[in-house]
Amino acid sequence: MPVMNIIQAVNDALRLEMRRDPRVVVLGEDVGKFGGVFRATQGLQEEFGADRVMDTPLSETGIIGTAIGMAIYGMRPVPEIQFSDFIFPAFDQIVSEAAKFRYRSGGQYPCPMTIRTPCGGGIRGGHYHSQSPEAYFVHTPGLKVVIPSNPHDAKGLLLSSIRDEDPVIFLEPKRIYREAKGEVPEGEYTIPLGQAQVAREGTSLTVLAYGAMLHTALKAADEAAAAGIDAEVIDLRTLLPLDIDTVIASVKKTHRVVVAHEAPRTCGYGAELIALIQERALLDLEAPIARVTGLDTPFPYTLEHEYLPDAGRIVEAMQATVAF
């Protein structure tokens, strides 16, 4: 089985789906001849032509607005927003248009499209190349939100997203684009949206994470093991719809929970996870649920590793939760 990184897995998924389904088109800034600033669309224009792999003018509103028109018309567009920090000019088209087309038209006009966009910090990117905007989109009825943590899942989840009948925000954790390597099956396979995965089994407590933070959580679990804490780590993979059953089953097993994400704390995705858990398993809990998150500040340049949760912060939260 070939070993790939996430970029290669994304590229492989796009290539396979474009071969299989002539409705699939890719559009965005620098995605054509150059193959994307992260090289995720490398070679696609060569194989499928400039009509199906389009270098667009530099406007996120335009990329998403035209992609919506294509989806409404019957295509399967996969627009790329070069950095998720640049998605906000297209916010209106995403939340007021793509997300609502099916509903507002009484089901007449579905809007199947997959918006790929690199997210997250730790790459010396400052405010505008580092943010984690998932909460905005999870908060918008009509969107699905997916974020893989490894090449195998990136490929299978991307294929599922493109085939999905609804608009999907497909967040790609860019810090681990090349760092996360793994075996990726050749050919097509899908990982259903809405299925989490237990990345590490354990009994002492449950750590919920996704994207790049999954790797930080696994590192923390290894460090905590030395202190006798046997953590279960769950990779959520799809934030909406959430795999609530896997989460609650783990909580009922371990009775303690730590939630970790890069995005700011207030109204972050962790807040929703905690609300859902206490609604369903309050009496199973032996300790308050801890949050390890980014800060409620703009994303900084120089002090980004202080801003970002690291394994140490997660370990401390784990220790406090177990000791409660």
């Binding site: 088109v25 009509d51 199906r52 389009m54 667009t56 003018p57 406007s59 509103t61 335009g62 607005g65 035209t66 992609a67 919506i68 028109g69 294509m70 409404i72 018309y73 019957g74 295509m75 567009p77 000019p89 209106d92 088209q93 007021s96 248009e97 609502k100 087309f101 099916r102 509903y103 507002r104 038209s105 009484g106 089901g107 007449q108 006009y109 579905p110 009825p141 009509g142 699905k144 999905d164 009948e165 609804d166 809405g194 909406l240 719809p241 959430l242 609530i244």
Partner: protein
């Protein structure tokens, strides 16, 4: 004042003068029967607007928007469209939908948001969506449909389809970023799309002169690399000719066109505002001289395609049609089923929505039905 620009500027294409006399050698050959249908379509629109606005005043409709004075923009451009063409409308082109077969009863059910509303009571009145005639869903933010139309046209071109796309918007929408990006993408990709701007001079209370310092909307097309044309929007024949030309250019690979139709919003923006609060009451009266319906009537009369008797007949017909449709629509269940609230958010209803649905149904079964609407 918005009236500083006169509709009959020399570069505004016109076939019929204000008296319905042909002043151009480009009068289109339209069968008399079609001319009469077009006229009837305008008569229906005007009558419908009067009736629905009255209904709103009586509290039987939550909200309404008329297109009074802009009938020729709708019918003239609708006549130029082919069955396979796609429309990305704004909220002032119901006449395009009617011309293509949208049923009056469905229209009124949408206004009522009742159980027979094709949109299941999810949108404010006048935000129609009619897939069978490629009349794409309307949203309230002005301008968002412009890049979408460009995208649909790009898709049509990629697929090798021979159809074209038209999108409608008002002069206010030309100030949005969506207008810029839609025009820009369409120009770059030579998309088969027609941008139809109904320059009706008013965006709620703000006149054209506050939307742009550009003397015309049409000239903006030049910067995007394609043609912009000005047309007398109250002249159905002129609208028909320029729209047909633009659609043919689009279909034959000639790229997009921006049409600026000079017209006037005779009524309020919506049932929620009173134009007397912000514009000269004399202005609408001046525009009555250019009324599109009356102008077309005079033209038909010179063609011997109109007489008093026929006018009485169609007046009676449209009144009866609206009455019958209204009666049928008001006989429907007032509200869509509660379950429908949770449908079409996604293709399937996910667990969290099922949970919220069950909770709401449980509450309502204890409380009893909720009033309103």
């Amino acid at each position: 004042m918005a009236t500083e620009r006169k509709a009959a500027a020399p570069d505004v294409f016109q076939i019929l003068d204000r008296d319905g006399k042909v002043r151009s050698d480009r009068e289109p050959k339209v069968p008399a029967e079609d001319l009469r249908r077009l006229y009837r379509g305008m008569v229906l629109l005007r009558h419908l607007d009067e009736r629905m606005l009255r209904l709103q005043r009586q509290g039987r409709l939550g909200f309404y928007m008329t297109s009074t004075g802009e009938e020729a923009c709708q019918l003239g451009s609708a006549y130029a469209l082919l069955a396979d063409d796609w429309i990305f409308p704004s909220y002032r082109e119901p006449g395009v939908a009617f011309w293509r077969g949208y049923a009056l009863k469905d229209y009124i059910c949408q206004l009522l948001g009742n159980a027979a509303d094709p949109l299941k009571g999810r949108q404010m009145p006048v935000h129609h969506s009619v897939k069978s005639i490629h009349f794409v869903s309307i949203s309230s933010p002005v301008g968002t449909q412009i890049p979408q139309a460009a995208g649909a046209a790009m898709a049509a071109r990629i697929r090798g389809d021979k159809n074209a796309v038209i999108t409608y918007f008002g002069d206010g929408a030309t100030s949005t970023s969506d207008f810029h990006v839609g025009m820009n993408f369409a120009g770059v990709f030579r998309a088969p799309v027609v941008f139809f701007c109904r320059n009706n001079r008013w965006a709620i209370s703000v006149p054209y002169s506050r939307q742009t310092a550009s003397p015309t909307v049409a000239q903006k097309a030049r910067a995007y690399g394609f043609e912009g044309v000005r047309v007398d929007g109250n002249d159905l024949l002129a609208v028909l000719v320029v729209t047909r030309e633009a659609l043919e250019r689009a279909r034959s690979g000639g790229g997009p066109t921006l049409i600026e139709a000079e017209t006037y919003r005779v009524g309020s923006h919506s049932s929620s505002d009173d134009p007397n609060a912000y514009r000269d009451t004399q202005e609408p009266k001046e525009w009555q001289e250019r009324d599109p319906v009356e102008r077309f009537r005079k033209y038909l009369a010179t063609k011997k395609a109109w007489d008093e008797e026929w006018q009485k007949q169609i007046d009676g017909e449209v009144q009866a049609e609206v009455t019958a449709a209204l009666k049928a629509a008001e006989a429907e269940e007032k509200k869509p089923p509660i379950e429908s609230l949770f449908e079409d958010v996604y293709a399937d209803v996910p667990w969290h929505l099922r949970e919220q649905r069950d909770a709401l149904l449980g509450y309502l079964s204890r409380r009893g039905p909720i009033g309103g609407h």
